[in-house]
């Protein structure tokens, strides 16, 4: 074992810093240099680390896996103003990243989870020519509604205490997380199975058991103390503001993405969710996914997979299954491509 191996790092995963779009970005990578490139995008409150199993799995299957800490997270730079956390800024980072790591490849495979899925949708909207296929975990496409701003829309449907509304005021939720203890909050977020919509009441927002012995409640098999240590140490260092800025930029995003009103996603897509995911179980979502709306907005939606007995972090809960689904889909697209050339 390398002498200066950092806590939580898995063997063989390379780490480096890349200058992109005005910031310095930390990426984790593994896999044959010439293999098909898979770009893996984490969500909130997450890190490159969420993809540890997929990185190992996909690289052993011949892919070059690249997982950044997105802007505002982990070892990547966090600009100060929320106005620098729009999807245009994010896609700018990723386009510059691809310029740096994709080499001669004209297209890459894309995997996104949670906010990484949302950024993935925008990357597919803005730069479809760069994406061969998109695996979307948890968060389906949400076409822009020109009549309703996002935050007021959520407030109207789910109330003031809907988590997205509670995340808006700069500094407030950070305070509440600090009070409830970040480690406990992270543990509850990753391993919790509460169904949607996610409501954070103003007193006791994280449903944190005030019992100081709650630490002793067993973690599930798929999420170890070391995993929790890793997340806690990173978020202790950076705080949560970087990640929260994505939510605080949602209305600004809406304003700036007016050009894409009515635009459809043209990239081939496979959607995967866990059946206990709070997004999947939020009212309206199942209807959208299975009722035809999703397919109408994403004409090249090829597959919808609902994994049983899995929550929001399905890529961590059922890692082998998710990796197999990813490989299955990308291989299919690759084969289609190869057949075309005959």
């Amino acid at each position: 074992m390398p002498p200066n191996k950092k806590k939580g790092e898995m063997e063989g995963i390379d780490h480096r810093m890349v200058k992109v779009n005005g910031i310095t970005m930390h990426i984790a990578e593994k896999g044959p240099k010439e293999g098909p490139l898979v770009l893996l995008l984490h969500g909130f409150p997450d890190l490159w680390y969420t993809w540890r199993h997929q990185i190992i799995g996909l690289s052993s299957l011949g892919y070059r896996a690249v997982a950044p800490d997105l802007r505002g997270y982990g070892d990547t730079q966090s600009p100060e103003s929320f106005s620098e956390y729009t999807c245009l800024n994010m896609v700018g980072d990723l386009v510059a990243l691809l310029d740096s790591v994709a080499g001669d490849r004209e297209t890459v495979f894309l995997v996104g989870h949670d906010w990484g899925a949302i950024i993935g949708w925008f990357l597919c909207l803005f730069r479809p020519e760069k994406i061969k296929g998109f695996i979307c975990l948890s968060v389906p496409y949400k076409p822009r509604n020109p009549k309703v701003k996002p935050v007021e829309g959520f407030k109207a449907v789910f109330g003031d205490d809907y988590y997205i509304c509670r995340f808006q005021e700069p500094g407030k939720i950070e305070e509440e997380i600090a009070c409830a203890d970040p480690r406990r909050v992270l543990r509850n977020i990753f391993t919790g199975r509460k169904l949607g919509p996610t409501i954070l009441p103003k007193d006791n927002p994280f449903g944190a058991n005030p019992n100081p012995n709650s630490e002793n409640i067993e973690l599930p098999k798929w999420f170890s103390e070391e995993d929790l240590d890793f997340y806690t140490s990173k978020f202790d260092k950076t705080g949560f503001t970087g990640g929260l800025n994505y939510y605080r930029a949602m209305d600004l995003n809406w304003e700036l993405t007016a050009p894409w009103t009515g635009a459809k996603i043209q990239v081939p897509v496979k959607f995967i969710t866990g059946d206990f995911d709070m997004v999947y179980t939020t009212p309206g979502i199942k209807e959208y996914i299975h009722g035809g709306g999703f397919a109408a907005d994403v004409p090249n939606l090829q597959e919808v997979v609902v994994i049983e007995d899995a929550g929001h972090f399905v890529n961590q809960e059922k890692p082998q299954e998710v990796t197999a689904h990813i490989n299955d889909f990308f291989k299919k697209l690759q084969d289609k491509d190869n057949n075309k050339s005959f």
């Binding site: 103003s81 729009t86 700018g92 020109p146 304003e255 993405t257």
Partner: protein, 346 residues
Amino acid sequence: MDLTFDHRFVKVNGINMHIAEKSPSVAGNGNFDGVLRRPVILFLHGFPELWYTWRHQMVTLSSLGYRTIAPDLRGYGDTEAPESVDAYTSLHVVGDLIGLIDAVVGEREKVFVVGHDWGAIIAWHLCLLRPDRVKALVNMSVVFDPWNPKRKPISSFRSFYGDDYYICRFQRVGLFDSHQKKMGFTLQEYGEIEAEFAKVGTERVLLELLTYRNPGPILLPKGKRYDDPVSLPSWLTEYDVKYYVSKYEKNGFTGPLNYYRNMDRTWELMGSLSNAQVKVPVKFIIGDQDLTYHIPGTKKYIHEGRFKSHVPLLDEVVVLKGVGHFLHEERPDEISKHIHDYFLTF
């Protein structure tokens, strides 16, 4: 010449947009439906102009069978000018145009586009972001300037041309409260050029800009006097000037100036379109006396291949001898013919 235009207001992207329209005359049998199925040309004006700059093309091309539509862009003329200086990025303006095309032509419908000056910049961005809505483009005066991570606009202009360069003089001059900046708020910044324009007078400002024929960059040193008489060129009548002055006197220059104030912010956001090609068929027209044609590097860019490498469907480049910046007003029939000849091929 039938100079009657239909005017109306359309609610798009949160603003009330004024458009002028001229369509093929309805035949005696009252075939209104036929008109709506005619190909549409969307005309995008520049600075410091209005829909009115397209009057000649609209007359000619509507008589040739096109539905012609020319908006006052956001911040101009009778279109709403949002108060926030931050509401004038290319993303906002292209958003307006998508809303406009949806509303007056149809969702998923494509249009022909003609752009000039700032309208040309907006047209390039419209084609980059929504190539699925543009059938073909005739763009004038301003070439496609591919995104460059090393060239943040205002600081580049400043180092290249100096502080008196008009784009530098148009910038906002505001003071950020550092706490507010941390919170992501921008103070309602103000520009100082509006006050200087007011001193010179609206008519004089417009005349100086509309009759500018120097191939060099526009420099506006502070305190410069504008006393010498200005003679009107043949293509600009007293009536035309009166029209422009009336609108600019009513609405001021701030809306139009805000476009320049968002060049850096647009640049920041357009990193997402880095190295993207313009994938729409294009015909480009420029006058050889236009100051844009004389920007160092531009002739080479146009004629030696780089323009085409970024706009692979660039079908034709036309350089008009002895013609200046406002080419479609200087040579209206010639430009209308170029437009019609090109769009006929689709």
